[in-house]
Subunit: 236 residues, 6 copies
């Protein structure tokens, strides 16, 4: 029934390749099927101005999509002179999600910037960015720890994300683009390694939904996150 | 226990005053306690270019905050030369929410722009914008119907929104600013008049949350929406 | 003869309602007929950089118009990415006018920002902004004085403004939009409470004018300012 | 008493050199003492969109200042990414002033753009731009007439401008920078060749003014305009 | 003597991997040592407006660098709100170079956009972009030919580029970042497959140079281009 | 054969008029035939931030073109809100070229900004800007030396520039616009007074070129630079 022939609760193949660029403190290329995102983490000595003197650290994210990551070419945001509302919404979400797994006291007054750049898109880019971004963050934090710059581990738990939706009347896990563009309702679910909820965003796209449907999507998401966290563990 | 002395499930006083400006096709000033938002609806003869020739209508929204709507003055976005990521995220949400209650075939190939401008802010401005924006939209659509420009009612249901959160360990309804800035988890819940879900956005701000807590917040929201829809009905 | 049925020297009804927002140090909603402007004054501890170390204070103004304050919707300046030339010209005028009533030594090295946001427009918005802006400024300065932060009153006189023009060949006072858009010549007159001139801007819009006509408009303006200053006194 | 040693009613030496660039339809370099402005007029076949189908023409102006036209270098507006409020205010004024001398029916549905670029500034740049801009406009219109593209002369009268102010307590004509920066009140007076008023802008800069002072400045301006119009006549 | 231990006339290892994204009409990942650039070519049905009705085609290029492609993180240009002068200079160069190998009549009135995005930088990114961009262009043109949309081959020759410079007093081929940042003179040489010159850019960075040195760098470049063209041939 | 009737190796008449504005530390108006550029040099006490504490000076350049410097009017860059890629490329080139003649240690930790504004364009504006910019720079540096602010001369050599190209199959010197727009290949050659090369930029515009042709253009350029340097010497 799904365009890809997957079962309702079947995720796309996941691969996380680390050490993808020689410059970044942490990096990986995450592939969720045909969605490919390059994630890098950069450690900066200084926290943003609003944290000056607080001893607290910060994790932030930026998101971009190469112009031809999609089926038709999108205008380059740098040429357009601004980031779209969609881009800003996504990068705010990634940053917020990653911070939910961070002990900002343990991190100390520094900033880690996670860049997520979509090389090829087939639905679920924001979720792949969060899951892959966490791996880049983990690798960068490992460097901080190895160098003795932090004493206790600032990463308190995994953070991963997956999308689910009602496609052709059925709840399905890990929407690809063909499903995403047709789904009546879809949602992004961000959870920790221990299964705690970090962020839930469900949205009616054409058809409103019930609490019962919401529960079924959440069931799917919880199962999917287990797989994603396992892939993160294997990668780092 | 709440800074305002309200019960856990008690909303702030709601008032919706219509006909607030003489120019707009629909308008109201909605007050949720000390949060005051001026909402206007403008009917435009043309739909956006991507709908040309489809016969479908569109509803979109813009959001703004007067510089001194908040406790300290914010820089005017027009002077800054761009809308913040927050503003764009909110206005995309308002537009998406309102469209969930619209039959775009019945509306016909035209656009209605809903402007939500916050005169005074005390938490929950995006929810008040949706609830008040729906009233402005309703009034504008009434004009279309009275003028015989649409034949069946394009508004298929009410849409209203309320925030809930975990404050001091307790689920509370309709957060004001004092609560919002301290809440461990908060969420925005958008529902229709029939109680169907349109959008759920829950976010851990410092503390992750469980499915059980999510359910309790949703219970509160469902009750709150009933009150809001009643206020909408009284206003139009 | 006037579209509104007013006499040539008759102003529109004036109302000035203070304390309109709970956050601002001073605020009012001024109504000149159907022109409604929300004015707030914000006290900032620091003067602009070019005054650093001079001991002198500064008063500045910003002006905006809600998108649907007018008969047809105007594009939101924040969305357009810049303030129009008209907006900048108006806000520079408001700031200059208000500073003419301020003893900047007595104010001390701080800044007061007056925001004038037009809720509904029917001609004369810049004049209403100046007259209402002065009231907001007065209320904010009163707070400074009550708190003992200034020792002598930095407001040396009232400042108020009114427009006059040649409409259908006759000099008329306080143009509304219907008159303004047809007037051959119009002018904005800013005066102090003592009747001294602060700024005169007369402009031929289609028909040039004579010194004699200029004198008649100034006569009307002087009378109008007396009424406006009385309304300011009643409000504060 | 004046820094330059001039009499109170003495203007600076005026020179208007035409044909300054080979490309423009009309051009001149106007020198008012040490204020030098290069003015060009460009004829465009199309009027702006808002005039489409009306048969009416348009005259507009743009103003700029070379970065080192002044005593200390100003940031290049093209590098800053926007025109300042001052620039926009000035170019709107120039365009409005020149249009006052134009019969837009006779001009026909085309546009003339007058560019005024300040090469060297010593006060009064907006007035010199108007006086010189009129000469460039006259030359461009002459080309239209010679080519038989317009049948009756669209320029119905001269337009020229001069500044006056209260300097050291005395009314003086044609302020240079040293006077302008010290004047308590100054004004810009735009008149036609027949002595009709086009625009009057008087502004208190530190000291308010009386009707009597206003009259004296206008007397000076009327005399100055006679000299400027004579210089325009000699140039074309 | 070279930081990398290479001989003076030794290039870095080259690899060109095609078919890197499923969406683009042509794509490759080119690696010149540690410089990695992702190149895609997009076919657009319409040529730019200035070619309308001419029957001529166009090839243009855009260039970007991921924020952490370099040793320290660069600000994302989309976030900064504009492309730097360097970026614009490079993308203009790439487009100009690729057009030198194109028969624009044979291409017909359509546009091909070549996007070059630097994933990892170690000097010579503009040269790698041209060499890889040509491969993406070749693959896209092949699709046009296979679909019968063009009848004769619009690509008349290969275009490839390499940098050379005077490093530590010696002419060297294919500068990496360590050399580039120290070179007294460096140059970019763009040639066709037949060895004709397309563009030569030599620049003194600290030390001026002689015609004799210029000749030696050109000798090196000619040899390097032979290797690059062979790699292009192997890839397509 | 040349549109202007010049011999293949004949330059246009050169004139360099100094002291063109009273405010700048150095200034000139350079005329290469009908290409006229106003150049000013401004001394700033501070070097750019990246040089803080190094004791090194900096020379930078900005370039602009008046809207009607060309045959048809170009949009004013300040109004467009950004400098074009062409403008940025040119001003980066001018700055780089001038720095090649500067001893930055001798200059000391200050900056000189050279502004080149094209009053009238007929090809070769970037070359005229460099040649004239050097004169303005020389005059400004003379002021520094006279004031004893630098002890040894920071200008180690002349820098001048000329364009050459293949026009109608022949190598020609100093292209004017009619030639430039038709040339198959053109180049800009920047040399010092001693004949050392500073920058060579050759570009195929429609036809690729050979090493032999490159040599012939360089021969022409070397001869042209001798004339330009003589004109610089005569001017200062």
């Amino acid at each position: 029934m799904r365009p890809s022939g997957r079962n309702l609760s079947e995720m796309r193949p996941i691969s996380i390749e680390t050490g993808i660029t020689k410059h970044a403190e942490g990096s990986c290329l995450i592939r969720m099927g045909d969605t490919h995102v390059l994630c890098t983490a950069t450690i900066e000595d200084r926290a943003p101005p609003f944290l000056k003197g607080t001893g607290l650290g910060w994790v932030t994210a930026e998101y971009g999509m190469l112009p031809r990551a999609t089926n038709s070419r999108n205008r380059r945001e740098a040429a357009a002179g601004k980031q779209s509302g969609r881009t800003q919404e996504i990068q705010r979400l990634i940053g917020r999600a990653l911070r939910a797994g961070v002990d900002r006291v343990a991190l100390g007054e520094r900033q880690i910037v996670v860049d997520c750049d979509v090389i090829q898109a087939d639905g679920g880019t924001r979720c792949a960015s969060i899951t892959g971004g966490w791996v880049a963050l983990r690798l960068a934090v490992n460097k901080l720890m190895k160098a003795g710059l932090v004493t206790s581990d600032p990463l308190v738990d995994h953070v991963a994300a997956v999308s689910c939706g009602i496609y052709a009347g059925q709840p399905v896990l890990d929407l690809d683009y063909a499903e995403d563009s047709e789904a009546g309702t879809d949602g992004n679910f961000i959870l920790t390694g221990r299964g705690r909820l970090v962020e839930v965003q469900m949205s009616a796209e054409g058809a409103t939904f019930s609490r019962d449907e919401m529960g079924k999507l959440l069931d799917l998401a919880e199962a999917g996150i287990v797989t994603l966290v396992a892939a993160q563990k294997a990668a780092v």
